[in-house]
Subunit: 235 residues, 2 copies
Amino acid sequence: MVTEFPPVILTVDCALLSLLPGDEDPLSGGLGVVTLTRDKAPFEGMQALPGGYVFADHDKDLSDTARRVLADKLGLDPGRFFLEQMGVVSGAERDPRGWAATVVYYALAPAALVASAKGKLVSVDALPPLAFDHGQIVAQVVERVRAKAAYSNIAGFLLPPEFTLPELQDVYERVLGQKIDQSVFRKRMDEAALIEAIPDGFRTGGRHRPAQLYRLADEGAALQDRAVVQRSRRK
Amino acid sequence: MVTEFPPVILTVDCALLSLLPGDEDPLSGGLGVVTLTRDKAPFEGMQALPGGYVFADHDKDLSDTARRVLADKLGLDPGRFFLEQMGVVSGAERDPRGWAATVVYYALAPAALVASAKGKLVSVDALPPLAFDHGQIVAQVVERVRAKAAYSNIAGFLLPPEFTLPELQDVYERVLGQKIDQSVFRKRMDEAALIEAIPDGFRTGGRHRPAQLYRLADEGAALQDRAVVQRSRRK
DNA sequence: GGAATAGTGTCTGTCAGACAGTATTGG
DNA sequence: CCAATACTGTCTGACAGACACTATTCC
């Protein structure tokens, strides 16, 4: 066993996901990811995920690093956004500067929050070429988020703190790219207790019945595993 | 952004899981994890997960590091074992030597393979105190493996390459700690196509009907997501 | 009242789990 | 034939999904 530090580049990269505008046709306005233009070599001028080095003096742990990156590079309010570690991507070939390991975090935030941040929000289904292996990383993150969306309340973090059930269902349909039966969706949300009704909270405005407002239940236990759509069963 | 390497300790720790002997009573002989006695400070003399530094010159990526650690520290044959990244554990406090990040890998191997390796196989349900935060890491790994066992063929890697359906069911029951209906288990295994029958392969010996031998289907697509036991639905 | 969207009730095919029944071996 | 374990068939309650129905607002 060697005792000196290994000559390894360790960074943190963040994939911040949100919903694209596209309000006109249904099921458009799907998932988007925020990218920045690199201002130095390698891959100068290309789009890349925001990332940075670990500051051992300031960051309590790697999630701290991720929050700092999102705040510094994107100007994102350290407010209500979901952050979770995806894993590590590593290898001798992925960075021309040498053997590199990157801890990947992904974040989810409401479109309104992301709109005020730096960077470009691009569709994950029509990604431009990205620096390093960031294209593959985004693909992995999207796969993970879509899988989680099917059995958790993770999609709720793409909406403002207060939202209606039809709005939430719309988000699930955009993220999953598939229609969900209204009745089934409501039954699930009800029994899963992932969200809670806001007493006397209603969204009015349209010329139709007002919708009950909800919020995510239980800030702490924010992520639970209840099925929202059933995975297909037969081969 | 700084450009010199950050003063961060980056290591890889491996949690090698297998089944404990305990053949007498049913549902005993559950999951075990392999630990080594630390031969230097910090935590000298305590049990710890096998781990090591990344060798940028030799390791193509971090999974290479993990395989090397399992081979060097445990003498494990680089043969048929399942290896997957769990994530990174990091922080200023977890290693007395300084800010440290550890990439955690977990491996599954048949008991026969593990028996010939170095280290102690201890029950994950009665862990001794472990060095660093390895106790928490093992708990996380076990949670992950149990979750995956419920909807994948991951438990098959705890058996030799050839096994019978009753043997596989027994493994699932040990890992999950719950009885599975025989008929349901077989229907799932059949439709999921996670395993395939070995033509004319039978295990004889008992004074009863011989059992068909199976192997894991498709070495490459080794892990698939088919439910083996249904998650509970009602609250 | 009509349009529009929010929200609920009901029906039906299908599946998970329970359990009983059949198959095949050694003694 | 018996014991023991491998394997299969069938029944039933419950749920997912489909779809029709009611509720409530603005005009």
